[in-house]
């Protein structure tokens, strides 16, 4: 398909990401790109991510300069002669919590907005607003939004097909404290309330604050006043902050984690199960295997745990996927998010792709590579967006059991504690065995405890037959 160039947009690299900047363009206008080529390095709050193109074609133009912070979904480049991707590369589930447009899959069926030549030329304190296809809403909801001065395009819809419901409007309104008049003026002057510093009671935004913000928006970047950003809004003050400093990045990461985890606990009715697994078979097998191999090819118990979790997720597919728009969407493969703690603080959960069908040596190499790149801050976009279930291995830090918080929109999180020697009864005799506590936190909207129980039983069975892993 030729004709209208395809838009390469700021991807959502995780449920907690709302904005990002291009740290580096790896292509120039006129370059030929193929789907899957890394074309830019995106700086999220958490890390530098290499982002792959969804399209094949020729780079027509770059719309955003390196260093400019823009919301998720903003067109970054135009790719001419692009064939539509055969399948959505970024699955719907990766849409951010406060997505400003319908998910990619639904978006494909809608008319694309006209490519804007300078979509991000907006002044600071005034994030670029690529006009997204408006979500379908009922007249009542539209009226309600209008009355309250809310731009519907900025409201996250939780109804069928991303439809904005009355509750969504009410929630959106409560996110930023502002007077109704201030909201109306903000809508008229195209000011993002999230970027406005409120001077009213409890930081509420008054009409005057909005007018001042609108006036400031005409001034150069440096003049932008620091603004309190609402939790679920693009953090404009970060854009104005200039060079990301380490301290700032850490704060930003804390904020990103805070948003994702708060969303998880707000939306997901978690249930928790745990089971203690005898690891003597697994560790014995590993020991024999490692004894005969060069040190560089040793496997870690963590790899057996990851593989067992992935295989179990394949056998109990109800836990492998996403909860989107009131329905479960199953993952195509088991892409295991691995919670990796970063040196100096912070947490990131990139995915090991297709874990259930990879052999242990391959997985070990992939894990080493992933951890090294995560800590160096170089992940790929596919790793940041395609996890279908996440594993946290806090046992490394010595805890016995971890009752995790699900990373939305995933529906399950598996936790492994430390492998400890414990008294253990086998066939009526008491012995000492290495055991590990495996926990499952699962979304009760998607599954019931019975399914979760089957998952843990499967993990137990697999770890007791390590030769089959």
């Amino acid at each position: 398909m030729t004709g209208e160039p395809a838009q390469f947009r700021m991807p959502s690299l995780g449920a907690d990401m709302e904005s990002g900047s291009v740290a580096e363009w790896l292509v120039h206008p006129g370059d030929q790109v193929r789907r899957g080529d890394v074309i830019a390095v995106i700086d999220t709050d958490k890390a530098l991510i290499e982002v792959e193109s969804f399209h094949t074609g020729v780079v027509d133009s770059l719309l955003v300069d390196a260093g400019e912070r823009v919301p998720v979904g903003t067109p970054l480049a135009l790719i001419a002669g692009a064939a539509p991707p055969s399948e959505p590369r970024v699955p719907t589930p990766t849409a951010p919590p406060a997505r400003k447009r319908p998910p990619a899959r639904a978006g494909k069926k809608r008319p694309q907005p006209e490519p804007q030549p300078e979509p991000v030329a907006g002044p600071p304190g005034h994030p670029p607003q690529p006009t997204p296809p408006p979500p379908i809403t009922s007249p009542i909801v539209r009226h309600l939004a209008e009355q309250r001065g809310l731009d519907l395009a900025t409201v996250h819809g939780t109804g069928p097909g991303g439809q904005v419901t009355r509750a969504d409007v009410e929630r959106a309104e409560s996110r930023v404290k502002a007077s109704p008049l201030a909201r109306r003026i903000a809508l008229d002057l195209d000011v993002d309330l999230a970027a406005v510093q409120g001077t009213g009671r409890a930081g509420a935004i008054r009409a005057d604050d909005v007018r001042k913000a609108a006036a400031r928006a005409g001034e150069p970047r440096e003049a932008a006043a620091p603004a309190e950003a609402a939790p679920a809004a693009p953090t404009v003050q970060e854009a104005a902050a200039g060079e990301p400093r380490l301290e700032g990045r850490r704060d930003a990461m804390r904020q990103a984690i805070a948003r994702a985890m708060a969303r998880s606990k707000r939306e997901i009715p978690h249930y928790y199960l745990s089971s203690t697994v005898d690891m003597s078979a697994a560790l014995g097998w590993l020991r024999e295997r490692n004894r005969d191999l060069p040190v560089s090819q040793r496997l870690l118990p963590a790899v057996l745990l990851l593989k067992a979790a992935a295989r179990a997720a394949k056998e109990v597919p109800q836990l492998n996927g996403f909860w989107i728009d009131d329905a479960f969407v199953s993952g195509n493969a088991v892409n295991l998010g691995v919670a990796i703690s970063l040196k100096g603080g912070g947490l990131i959960a990139p995915a090991l792709l297709d874990v259930a069908d990879r052999d242990l040596d391959d997985l070990m190499a992939a894990l080493r590579d992933l951890v090294a790149r995560s800590r160096a801050g170089r992940m790929r976009s596919s790793e940041m967006t395609e996890a279908t279930i996440t594993v946290t291995n806090l046992g490394e830090q010595g805890v016995e059991a971890v009752h995790g918080v699900i990373y939305p929109p995933q529906v399950a999180l598996v936790g492994f504690g430390k492998i400890l020697d414990r008294p253990w009864a086998v066939d009526g005799l008491l012995g000492v065995r290495p055991v590990v506590t495996v926990t499952l936190a699962a979304d009760h909207r998607a599954t019931d405890g019975f399914t979760g129980g089957r998952f843990l039983t499967t993990v137990d069975r697999l770890l007791n037959h390590p030769e089959g892993l």
């Binding site: 020991r287 490692n290 004894r291 040190v295 560089s296 040793r298 870690l300 118990p301 963590a302 703690s341 040196k343 100096g344 894990l367 080493r368 951890v371 490394e396």
Partner: protein, 83 residues
């Protein structure tokens, strides 16, 4: 291998897995896995580097002897050949 030489190798291997850490501040009898927050991958890299450098194949059974710099140096000095 002298304990002094073994200690040098251990510190060099640690510097590789924890480049940001100040190893001069590391007490020789403290558990460095805890202090440097090494996970099992880090520790495996440490073992690999140390095995190469000392020309002594460190077995998994040896891991408990390698928890402190001082203890590890004694262990390695006793096992590894001259070097």
């Amino acid at each position: 291998m002298t304990p002094q030489r073994a200690r040098e190798l251990i510190e060099r291997a640690l510097a590789q897995v924890a480049p940001e850490a100040d190893l001069t501040a590391l007490p020789p009898d403290a558990d460095f896995r805890d202090l440097l927050e090494l996970d099992s991958l880090d520790f495996l890299s440490f073992v690999e580097t140390l095995s190469d450098a000392s020309d002594y194949r460190i077995e998994e059974d040896d891991y408990p002897a390698l928890t402190t710099v001082a203890g590890g140096a004694d262990f390695l000095a006793a096992r590894a050949g001259p070097g």
